[in-house]
Subunit: 364 residues, 2 copies
DNA sequence: CTGTATTATTAAAGCGCTTCGATAATTCCT
DNA sequence: AGGAATTATCGAAGCGCTTTAATAATACAG
């Protein structure tokens, strides 16, 4: 009664490739070739081997094949800590997408966070020092020095929601321009002509893009570009900063009737401030966020926002990674993940959602 | 200019233990002993080795030491998929706590989810088949068969928010009884005497405990135990089920003035229903949740709830795991993580928070 | 001083696999 | 038919480390 689902009762030794070889009357090499589907093996022996494998419940030791083949079967996932440990589930969702996809390809993810602050290399993730990963995924903005370090290690690298000016790495990016465009357009169509923009961490490429697209869209629509309507001085994009940015905004005298926030957290912070100030949402102030995090649906009123497909970003990045690891060719692909505007009550009372399409940057 | 922070420019071969040995004029074994701080090594040679190690920027290959020492340096983390992929960030937070602690002890976590549904073993996590973990953490309710499988592998096992009747495993548990007690008591003190309880997934030990403590507390306070006030038929504990449970509750004629929900998600669902029904919260219906998830602060009104220290649970579990892996002795420790009642506007208008203390079950 | 413990170092085996080069068996050409 | 090319199998080396048992050096007894 062969049953690979169950180890022997008191649990003997795990079967090794040697056991399989002996049992099948073949050499180690042949068994190895079968397991790796490489080289020449006759159908007859292949079947014989696979039978024995099943019978014995054999599974190659990851660690042994790692040593022999100089691959670990792991992908490193680096996150800047300020992004991750913050309650903000944005990058967590991306991670989950990657994690799920990794499993489809028989990889595991080794997760680590690095301090996002300083420009130095900082502490180097142990999996890099120990040679314990076959490639690295980076989500969000991290030190250029660290990126360069990884580059020098010769490991495949895929960036998520981050780009390095002047560097050529595959990236999975949010279509920030379109998202910002949709948001501003939506507000304009509702009749707003004094639309503010609040953000933090303006040095993050994604945030910068949103600002730029905000400005461009205003121009495009023939609306005034009033700098009193823009607050980007906050160091971070969390709820508190949204609140703080709102305070600044309303002291600058721009007299906004609508706010486009760089992300949902800031939008929620802004919303809190608006309420405290006695403003009705959306009547006195319409608010649009970006990301579509869980909380966006639970705040009162529910937040109109630009939905980002976070899990999909993680998935796509991992797919790139897997093909990079397997192919060894260094093609660079920028993938732009679509966004869609989700209209909720923070901008108008009743609404449909408007899905958008995606496109890929392709090799360039 | 030795600098372990930086690999050679075009990147040569990683230095191996052999390189260190040669450079130091010692044998491999000696270097190994130094690296592992075991055996007898004179101070003089130890220093010499460490100097060379630093000079060469040597870091032992995780994969090689894995093969030689039959340890992987990884801890498996198993989650039932319905818990994890649900937007509910509860287990995610626990995972983060474990992840962080793992790093402190130079372990990595291999995360995987298993289908929580059937009672069979289901697909066995690959890291078990490949012998790629030194221990396993399980969060939430998973198949007993799988637990037994792991047990037979002889791997250290720590359960989080789960207990197995009749099995002896170390667990990290929520102090559900106290939490439920605090919640019900709070409502009673506010004058409520028709306090309902809604839950799903009643077969989960944590949920069952909350129900039991709910009942006991009512009795203790001399309040009626009306079964029309209890709805536990929902299969799951997500928002929709909270909504559904509320519907059932209000058709049962128990006429509740307050609801204690088994978790925040269900509380939020219940809240949604109450609003739709035109009930004012907390005036017409007071609501208390459990867990204190992020959304609890964002719903309108903010939800009174029992705070659970999720990261801490993950941390504690990992600490247990590390000591189990290192010591090889099979002490069983049940750790109860404290809870505290967080009073917000879903039960009364103005409030303080009431912190509670923790205790440990200890070896038994 | 000689014998026993203790401390220090090392050679060698081996962990379980991949992979290369060699060899053997077949098939394909012309 | 004879040799080249292709297909099939295997032996052996080796991946980078740990660990054991042996040996060497030193300290400690009596």
């Amino acid at each position: 009664m062969p049953n690979s689902m169950r180890p022997a009762k008191p649990l003997e030794r795990r079967p090794t490739i040697k056991d399989v070889a002996r049992q099948a009357g073949l050499s180690l090499s042949t068994v190895s070739l079968v397991m790796n589907q490489s080289g020449y093996v006759s159908d007859e022996t292949r079947i014989r081997v696979l039978d024995v494998v099943k019978e014995l419940g054999y599974h190659p030791s990851r660690v042994a094949r790692g040593l022999a083949s100089k691959t670990s079967g792991n992908i490193g996932f680096i996150l800047s800590d300020d992004h991750f440990s913050s309650a903000e589930p944005f990058y967590t969702r991306i991670f989950l997408g990657s994690e799920f996809e990794a499993r489809n390809h028989n990889f595991y993810i080794l997760l680590t966070t690095v301090s996002g602050k300083n420009g130095s290399v900082g502490t180097i993730p142990r999996f890099l020092l120990e040679g314990n990963v076959d490639g690295v995924l980076i989500a969000g903005k991290i030190s250029v020095k660290l990126v360069e370090y990884i580059e020098r290690l010769g490991l495949p690298l895929v960036l998520i929601d981050y780009e390095l000016p002047g560097k050529r790495f595959s990236s999975v990016l949010i279509d920030n321009r379109k998202g910002a465009h949709l948001a501003v357009q939506h507000l304009a169509h509702l009749g707003h002509n004094r639309i503010a923009f609040i953000a933090g961490d303006i040095r993050h490429p994604s945030i910068a893009e949103r600002l730029k697209a905000y400005q461009e869209t205003l121009q495009e629509l023939g609306l005034p570009l009033d700098e009193r309507l823009v607050v980007t001085s906050e160091p971070d994009t969390r709820i508190e900063n949204g609140n703080a940015a709102a305070i600044t905004l309303f002291t600058q005298g721009g007299d906004p009737t609508a706010v486009f926030a760089a992300n949902d957290a800031m939008a929620i912070g802004c919303m809190q401030y608006a309420k405290k100030r006695g403003l009705r949402i959306p009547e006195d102030l319409a608010i649009v966020g970006f990301d579509d995090i869980e909380s966006a649906t639970h705040v009162e009123p529910p937040l109109t926002t630009v939905r980002v497909f976070k899990e999909e970003m993680g998935t796509l990045a991992m797919q790139r990674m897997v093909s990079a690891v397997k192919s060894k060719t260094k093609t660079i692909v920028n993938t732009y993940v679509p966004v869609e505007l989700i209209v909720r009550s923070s901008t108008q009372k009743h609404q449909p959602t408007i899905p958008q399409s995606s496109y890929e940057g392709g090799v360039r």
